[in-house]
Amino acid sequence: MRDTKRRLTLQVALPLVGVIIGVLLIVGPFIAGLARSLMLWVGEDPQFSLANFAWLFTDRRIHQAALNSLICGFGAMSLSLMLGTSLAWIVSRTDVPGRELFKTLNLIPFFFSPYVGAIGWIFLVAPYSGLMQTSIGSFTGESIEGPNIYSLAGVIWILSLFYTPYVYLFVISPLQRMDAAFEDAARVHGASFWTTIRLITLPLLQPGLLSAALIVFVTSAGLFDVPLALTATKGIRTMPTEVFALVRYPSDLGRAAAFGILVTVITIALTLWQRAHLSKRRYEIVSGKGYKPRVTEIRGAARVLALTVEIVFLTTSVVLPVLALILVALSPLWTGRSNPSNATLANFSYVLFDYSLTRQAILNSLFLAVTGATLGVTISGLQSYYLQRGRGRFKGLVDALLALPLGIPGIVLSLFFLIFAIRTPLYGTLAILLIAYVARFFPFATRTISAMLSAIHPELEESARANGASWTQTMRHILLPLLRPALIAAWIMLFIIFIRELGASILLYASGTETISIAMLLLSENSVGYVAALALIQLVLLLGGFTLFRLTKVSAIQ
């Protein structure tokens, strides 16, 4: 009896630890942000005021920026959902040639920084000077303007390319594990292929799709680096770039904080809606029974279409931008035209060996990525267990609270941490970056692990417990092996995000705590060749991590 009580305590206490850490990571900076948003300085004295919030509702520029962010978020979400679900379905549910290879290749854009992707696409299609324009111009002899990458459409295009793998990751696992009996039953009862997809497959994918949609929407709307690279020069402001401008001297932290609080409230509403929507139905797609996902044979035009979707996606998201980056990185002076006879490795040599800041930045990023991902997955795993298996009365509230950072743009959370830590010894250290990274991104891991956990019917654990296994044995032999793909996917996701992270770092870094992305931003003041070289080094690092996992026979999508 006493032993049972001890086990029950462990079962409850461990997940609670994860929850408490998560709550503290959010509440501390959030309260600092809230307090700052409600303060207005009159002379030297702070006074309580709602003026910062009033400004949000009256400033025309902010409204325009908010609208632009919503357009970016909605556009990127729609395109990513369409592309990501299509790609996941093609490789998991059809016999398209090379499906195993495509399964891996589809993830490669996930390893890219969208900022780097934006830079790559600028080199590709910048008006009059992109590689595409100059290549075509060399045949026609004319100066070609080409598509306008410096626009909201350009931002949506870049965000969609690089957030499609998020959707793909969320959807492919349930698709692969879905019991074909559901779809078979529909087909046996006369449903067409599309009807089955609409009424059976997509509804069963809802948890993953909604999670992915929410993440892509808020991340796209809140991302500041791609709009900074593409639209800021055309005077097209978005909410994050406006916040960035507000934080810059002469800074108005109160208004920036008010914006963050408003966004946070909207996120709570979205999260609660998502939770309420999902709770109306059941989504268990993995049971204790044997099953095999259905593979559809595609022939003729359908096969060509599937292959075309795959090839176009990989070419536009990987091949072309990387090619552009390589050409720029090998050029001593980039003029929009590649000259192989002048190719040099000087840019690589400089950023790797001659510039101490980039060396330090690489080390800092590796430290933050490895430590942060490990901490993040540990905390998230515990939180997921609490949210999916716990019996607390306030689970809904905790879920909404833990999801808060999802909707807060990195730059705003970074601002909250800045306000929170500016008068503490944490200011200007790697530790504050590490804490901010984990606080900003652990919900990504929690969502990934929770989505998988929600698809594992508790009957498997109940069966083990009924047969005498302890809670720790059940965890070790039943749940963790089943969760392993999700845990690894979450770790890789955090590692990748941390390696390329910019939004949460931009306000918190100091001398000696620069990261790779910060170094890239600093080098952009110097030479695009250096930026391209460092971007490729970052890409190699990220792909190296991915390859290591593949070599150990463990994969996020296994």
């Binding site: 100066s143 005077g235 001593p332 800041l357 500016i422 200007g428 001398s511 003041e525 110097n526 695009v528």
Partner: protein
């Protein structure tokens, strides 16, 4: 250890000490100094060695130039090659934001900074943010200090630059003399101006230009739908690749550096005059490495430091009788037609009004 062993060790240490002292006595920084000044510099060198490093930041100096500067700095004072000089290149807005945050946090990481934002620099000086250090090199900067580009014993320019029209001679044949000519040469949608919202130095430039160019001129600029660029490299890059045919906010440093790699960029010092942006350099009051910081200020303002900055960065020296090695790109200070602005009297509020005016014209 035996007594003989201890004696040998002591003798060896004495020899090492004498060798080090002898080396220190020979360093270039000490040449021509009187005994008191020599003692002072030697004490600072020893202090810097104990402090162990130097952190400085600038908005112009490229990392490659920094490498040359740091190497010369170590040689100048006989510091070991391992003496760390940590350099951070920042945009003007980013630097101000960082320093403001560090001041608010009372946790200063930079020792020395240099920035082309005189209004902010004067404001911070008045607030007591800078260390009082009257470098002996200040003697050579009295003319520019009288011209309002520094405060004796607090800060002075380590060089200056302009944000002026630049173009690619391979793409545009332009022989205009004025801002008006540059505007006439601008192709709608294919020229850039400095982003006054994002950049303090472009805001400063705009505030200066408004002394000689009226609002209507800028309204004409706005009609041609310019691109707003915050970073000088970005505007130079757009000119290099042909995205833009002319940039109003080009930086002579980038022109010089690109041309050294084979480009054919050109600059115009307009007949209306131009806003001279002094890179005002100072030591922060609570600098973590004050001795190293003082040595750096002495070095960067010296003839040796100024030659490197002029040669590598095309900065215009404020040092008396300094001869520019590249007068076509970085003319001598005395030959320039600089727009007169009293930066000491210009307040941050006035500057913000210029920013609001710019926003109302360009509606970015």
């Amino acid at each position: 250890m035996s007594i003989a062993g201890k004696a040998r060790l002591g003798f060896a240490l004495l020899l090492m000490g004498l060798a080090t002292a002898s080396q220190a006595q020979d360093v270039p920084a000490l040449k021509g100094l009187d005994e008191a000044a020599r003692t002072n510099v030697l004490q600072m060198i020893e202090g810097a060695k104990k402090e162990g490093s130097l952190n400085y930041s600038d908005t112009i100096i490229q990392p490659t130039t920094n490498d040359v500067l740091v190497s010369a700095f170590r040689t100048y004072y006989g510091l070991p090659a391992s003496f760390p000089v940590n350099y951070t290149l920042l945009t003007s807005g980013a630097m101000i934001t960082r320093i403001e945050q560090e001041l608010a946090a009372n946790r200063i990481t930079f020792d020395v900074a240099a920035i082309g934002s005189p209004t902010w620099t004067f404001e911070r000086y008045r607030a007591g943010a800078f260390m009082n250090y009257r470098s002996r090199e200040y003697d050579a900067y009295q003319d520019v200090i009288k011209a309002g580009l520094g405060v004796d014993g607090a800060f002075v320019l380590n060089g200056g630059y302009a944000q002026i029209p630049i173009w690619n001679a391979d793409i545009l044949k332009f022989d205009g003399k004025s801002y008006r000519d540059a505007l006439n040469a601008a192709v709608p949608g294919r020229f850039s101006i400095g982003d006054v919202v994002q950049s303090e130095s472009h805001l400063t430039t705009y505030a200066g230009l408004r002394q000689v160019l009226d609002v209507d001129f800028f309204k004409e600029v706005a009609k041609k739908k310019p691109t707003f660029v915050g970073r000088s490299e970005q505007s130079a890059q757009r000119i290099l690749t042909g995205q833009d045919v002319i940039a109003f906010g080009g930086n002579p440093s980038r022109v010089h550096q690109s041309n050294q790699k084979g480009a054919k960029l050109r600059i115009l010092y307009p007949s209306e005059g131009f806003t001279f942006l002094p890179q005002l350099t100072f030591i922060l009051a609570k600098a973590p490495h004050p001795n190293a910081a003082k040595l750096w200020i002495d070095f960067i303002l010296s003839d040796a430091g100024q030659k490197i900055l002029a040669d590598k960065e095309a900065l215009i020296s404020g040092r008396a009788n300094f001869q520019s090695p590249i007068p076509d790109i970085a003319p001598n200070f005395s030959s320039l037609k600089i727009i007169k602005v009293d930066w000491e009297k210009m307040t941050a509020d006035q500057l913000m009004k210029y920013r609001e005016e710019w926003i109302s014209i360009f509606n970015p």
